[in-house]
Symmetry: C2
Subunit: 339 residues, 2 copies
């Protein structure tokens, strides 16, 4: 009796090196969204994107295998999704509506073309869910020993001033849209349980963990509240940023830029305030609003802006300095031998 | 008697890992040009750039250590210069005036901060020479085992239509601004003479070579004729691109997109027409102009656009198919063990 699973010839996957740059691009490009603001899409020396109010918002971000993600944990689809999500959140944090992305990839030659198709699908679906109408208008494809994804994202301010970090005033309401500490809890779970007996990242363990715990999914493919960025701007937000390095560190940036103290209410930081303060990569939106504002979208109040005295800590919790809570600095935290 | 050269304590250089992300950025950012079109520069979630005609041109490009450059040959200043130059040429090839760059770097933690300062100086000087008023408005800094530079560049079309690849018509003049085959000749010299006895890239040999041969300098830090892009657009260029993969391959792209034959005049291809046809990375501008046009800036005529018959080769030289001349495909050409 034959065993089909062992007698069938398995074709090796077509790799980027085998297909070459042009065929690889021909397979990826049709999967990407054109976008409603795209005057000229991929295929020429450059794309052309409309900027109806005569300005555009731009942010850029690199994701590198090792410090920023591990292929044992993140699928190619996750990587495309997360690369889009983190950049869309930065555009939203200015109060802008995302209009377009460009994506440059550097991948090992042995990468299956199917992986890049999945990555493109992740970019496409993230745009469709978080920023409908946002297109992927251009890119670049290079070979590298280290898988690297560079996304640059654009947005339209619709005639409004950008919401920067320096506009918070004493008396303003401090608010957040999206989770606090969830991505970091997911990452801690992966480091603890998404590994094999030697502590190396393990795909099977991680997949099981992801099915059981939504925080793991938020770490691998977050869905920040992108639409709440323009809503906050329309509602009069005085300062805003996206929470990429943890609430304490990022709130401190607003406090320092604005010359105020951000006082957080411990009762609004969830069951584990320390994790809420220190956990990075949530890409939730942090904003301040004038007193008595009706908070828009998914924003909830978590504190109050206070006047700064000489020597004030930038961030307090219930009026008290919570002490150093650290933050994500890739040069200090990453250890190459962790996988 | 003391020998000062051996008795002085030499401080080890401050590395990116030692300085951390914030201090490294604090040393790089002041060296970058602000730009005349920058509404909001680095320091917030995103930058804001003006786009006076309600559109912007955008192109992105990755440079990766190994396939795209070798640190034994290219200085950090060269890398910054070349990363800017190749992207500025893409913007110019649409007929646009460069307005801004964003630059994302992924570098090994042991990289001296001084190297990133030199890279920033290269970006700054390239903008000053090729695109005055163009600013570096944002960026990102990550750690990676593989030095990677991702530049995204923007331009202003000043109300004109973009000059794409598909507009060439029979009878048009074929013209080029900038050298043909020079960067490839420089690279061939480096592979032949910029190496040690084992064939590994060698900094001392390369530096000597560069002093003797300007083609080596064009390979490591080219100065494409960026200002000639908008000049060509104003003069009525019907199609344009930047020569990154060699004249034969790039002219073939215009021919196919436009449905024509590009017939080149061998007498205008210099002493080595084969090198002119196949050599990549010059970043010269290739354009077609209506018959009897006065060619602007540095453009010189090198051929004529002909009507295509069924089965015509896309590119001919003196009316004859020059055969396959190849082109730059990083997945097919790069071998990791070449240094």
């Amino acid at each position: 009796m034959e065993h089909p699973a062992t007698s069938v010839d398995v074709e090796p996957p077509v790799t980027v090196q085998g297909a070459g740059e042009l065929e690889t691009l021909a397979r990826i490009l049709p999967r990407l969204p054109r976008g409603s603001r795209t005057d000229l899409g991929p295929g020429d020396d450059a794309a052309v994107v409309s900027a109806p109010d005569g300005r555009f918002v731009v942010t850029t971000d690199l994701m590198v295998h090792g410090p920023d993600f591990r292929l044992a944990w993140s699928s190619p689809y996750d990587l495309g999704w997360k690369a889009a999500a983190s950049n869309l959140a930065d555009v939203a944090a200015m109060g802008a509506v995302p209009t377009a992305l460009v994506v440059a990839l550097a991948v090992p030659g042995e990468t299956p073309v199917a992986d890049l198709e999945a990555l493109a699908d992740g970019l496409r679906d993230a745009c469709a869910v978080m920023a409908p109408g946002c297109g992927v208008v251009g890119g670049d494809l290079s070979v590298s020993a280290t898988l690297t994804i560079a996304v640059t994202a654009f947005g339209d301010l619709e005639g409004r001033r950008p919401v920067t970090r320096d506009g918070a005033s004493a008396g303003d309401v401090v608010a957040v849209s999206g989770p606090l500490g969830r991505a970091a809890r997911g990452l801690a779970l992966l480091f603890r349980l998404g590994v094999d007996h030697d502590g190396a990242p393990d795909a099977v363990a991680a997949a099981g963990l992801r099915g059981r715990d939504p925080d793991v999914g938020w770490q691998l493919a977050p869905t920040p509240p992108v639409a709440d960025g323009p809503l906050a701007a329309r509602a009069g937000a005085t300062a805003m940023l996206d929470l990429s390095d943890g609430l304490a560190l990022d709130a401190g940036r607003v406090a320092r830029a604005s010359g105020v103290v951000i006082d957080l209410d411990s009762g609004s930081l969830g069951a584990d305030p320390t994790a809420a303060l220190s956990g990075g990569e949530d890409h939730s939106l942090f904003a301040t609003f004038p007193p008595d504002s009706l908070l828009p979208g998914g924003f909830r109040a978590i504190g109050t802006v206070r006047a700064a005295d000489p020597g004030s800590p930038p961030v307090t919790v219930d009026g008290v300095d919570p002490g150093a809570t650290g933050g994500w600095d890739p040069y200090r935290r990453w250890s190459g031998d962790r996988g």
